[in-house]
């Protein structure tokens, strides 16, 4: 199979685009898609310092690599979730990448700060591990970005993540979440701007980019996500994608286009005003933020501020 651009040996076929690329032309395609997303959605200006949430997986490390190559000033933020060897291994990949690329990384350990990791936290509450993890990450990402003076926080969410999330929200008719499902959330009332520059690229493409650029990453799946609904939605979408290439792309990107044309259609009817959490002073829509509700359990030993 030949690369459609240069006729060199192809290493990847992208069925949704009916394209075949060699390593060099695939890299060019990948970077152009990230650049297109950044510019089209006005994600960051050249002077913005970007804090990148890095898990040690393929998506976030590929994102960090490509944004650095595009000339953005970046630093990484890694949250060690305290999930045994999985978290230890993830942290090693982040630190290895940061050292190799001479980039700054802020590491934050949940166990060191709160004496318990996600496993114990989920066990203490009625929340699933993935739900507790989401609350903790969203809170700490925003707090650290804000405290360290980063105007933009970037995450490695890709097209598969966003399409699966959209499917999940639609299957349950969670209209209120549709307004917030965007590659860009502008800063407001204590929340820094959040961007997802990989939203145009599939999970396979981010994995290929990491592999082709020699970026080691954690391959093992998080042991807590085995039965996660997101994985079920992804499986369903991949079955459809296999039969009808381009479906995921069309599903998510058409949703974004429709919302741009008809923004009122996706506004929640009972939108809550922004407030400040009475416990920690971070932004929230209720008296106590989701993070403090999660952490305020009698058995917890302390709540030092994230820094």
């Amino acid at each position: 199979m030949k690369c459609q651009k240069c006729r060199d040996k192809a290493v990847i076929k992208i069925a949704r685009a009916n394209a075949k690329y060699c390593a060099a032309c695939f890299n060019a395609f990948f970077v152009s898609q990230v650049r297109r997303g950044l510019e089209r959605e006005k994600m960051a200006s050249r002077s913005d310092k970007i804090l990148i949430a890095v898990s040690g997986g393929k998506d976030s490390l590929a994102l960090w690599h490509v944004l650095s190559r595009l000339g953005y000033e970046t630093a990484g933020l890694h949250i060690d979730l305290g999930i045994g060897e999985y978290s230890a291994s993830s942290r090693r990949y982040v630190e290895l990448f940061a050292e190799r690329e001479n980039l700054e990384v802020y590491s934050y350990s949940l166990k060191e700060a709160y004496k318990m990791g996600i496993l114990e936290l989920a066990g203490e509450t009625d929340r699933s591990a993935c739900s507790a993890c989401g609350t903790v990450k969203r809170y700490l990402f925003n707090k650290v970005a804000s405290d360290k003076g980063f105007p933009v926080l970037a995450t490695g969410h890709n097209l598969d993540d966003e399409a699966a999330r959209l499917l999940g929200n639609l299957l349950r008719w969670q209209d209120a979440y549709l307004e917030k499902q965007s590659p860009v959330l502008e800063s407001e009332e204590g929340f820094v701007k959040k961007v997802k520059p990989l939203y145009r690229l599939s999970e396979q493409e981010t994995a290929a980019y990491a592999f082709l650029n020699g970026i080691p990453y954690v391959i093992e799946e998080c042991p807590m996500s085995v039965d996660a609904p997101m994985l079920v939605y992804k499986k369903a979408l991949n079955l459809i994608e296999h039969q009808s290439p381009g479906t995921k792309h069309q599903f998510y990107l058409e949703f974004l286009e429709k919302r741009k044309k008809e923004p009122d259609r996706f506004l929640p009817k009972d939108k809550k005003d922004g407030r400040v959490c009475q416990e920690c002073g971070q932004p929230t829509t209720s008296q106590i933020c989701g993070f403090c509700k999660l952490m305020n359990k009698p058995s917890f030993t302390g709540r030092p501020a994230a820094s």
Binding site: K13, C130, C133, S202, E203, I219, E221, L231
Partner: protein, 70 residues
């Protein structure tokens, strides 16, 4: 040929010659959900569904699907 699989990490023997697409079908794996990597000594390279493999080859089928947070 030797096929290295993940989740959990294990290996399988498959008789060649075969195309990558046939191997994936045999293992009931959708091509969109993995990278297929040909391991040759210290080097390794990404290969497409059309690549033909012989009994002497070793490949890694690496899953790309991840995530529970969202």
């Amino acid at each position: 040929m030797k096929v290295i699989l993940h989740h959990p990490k294990r290996s399988a023997e498959i008789t060649g010659p075969k195309k990558v697409s046939q191997i994936l079908k045999e293992l009931d794996i959708l091509p969109e959900t993995v990278l297929v990597i040909l391991l040759t000594g210290e080097k390794s390279e990404l290969i497409t569904e059309e690549a033909s493999l012989s009994d002497q080859d070793t490949i890694e089928i690496r899953p790309v699907i991840s995530g529970g947070y969202g």
